[in-house]
């Protein structure tokens, strides 16, 4: 079967694994591992600002680690849609993430966001080229009226 204009099963699985590796690296505050999931000119743009290239991406991971509100949080992804072309080595990804935060009284669902990303295959590895993250719309909490 021709794979022109579509992803092979191996590439589809590799891209989904890239999503999981991103979440693990971010949750482990592994700046080197996190940045290595992006291309050299990779970009992350979202609630924490815009971060470019490997040095900037390592700085993003350091910023996450230095943000007390994000202490003890882990990503739980969902609604992953991946499209792309294995021959061209390009892909787009869309997904939601819920951040689960560990608290002494038990885990809570802390926040939610939407990610839209592009990825490219470089030397046989899929990497993020750009990842845009937006916070999910929220209703006012009862406490804030």
């Amino acid at each position: 079967m021709s794979t022109a204009g579509r992803l092979t099963l191996d590439d589809r699985v590799a891209l989904e694994t890239l999503v999981y590796a991103y979440n693990v690296a971010a949750d482990e505050r592994d700046a080197e591992g996190y940045a290595a999931l992006f291309t050299a000119d990779g970009v992350w743009d979202g609630m924490l600002g815009r971060f470019e290239e490997q040095e900037g991406l390592r700085a993003l991971c350091a910023k996450i680690a230095a943000t007390p509100a994000l202490d003890g949080t882990r990503h739980w992804p969902n609604n992953i849609v991946i499209e792309g072309d294995s021959v061209a080595g390009t892909a787009t990804l869309g997904l939601d993430n819920v951040l689960v935060k560990a608290l002494p009284e038990g885990p809570v669902l802390f926040s939610a966001s939407r990610s839209e990303a592009t990825a490219v295959k470089v030397a046989g590895r899929w990497l993020f080229r750009e990842r845009l993250v937006t916070a999910a719309a929220a209703v006012p909490s009862p406490a804030s009226g």
Binding site: N79, I80, D96, V98, L109, A136, V139
Partner: protein
Amino acid sequence: MTLSWHDKLEIRELVARYDHAIDSGDPEGWAATFTEDGSWNGGVVVSGQAELLAFARGLPANPAFAAFRPSFHFFANVLVEETTPGEARLLCDNLMLQPRAGAGVAALTAAGYDDIVRRVDGRWLFASRRWRPVKPS
């Protein structure tokens, strides 16, 4: 003939497309996840592309769904079993989540879906979706 892994992945992504379309306020995208004669049963039954699209377009003003704005679907436990060539039964669970400003994310409902999906012109679509809320015993 059993479903290929490509088929199973495409069916799982169909659920994700459905979720993202309804959560992002895209009625055309939501209706497009159904077959021409597709139906949705979430307490009310909506059948056919015209009704599905009208229903989705009317959601922002529908008081029965006001408590769910904004919210998003979070699915798990996808099981797909081919019933006849080109058609399959799809079971999955779903949490309806709602972010609260400064107060985390609340779970509004827990439910299962019992669906029929059909391959039309090479694409998997919902022939029917039935929402089954989890009720306390």
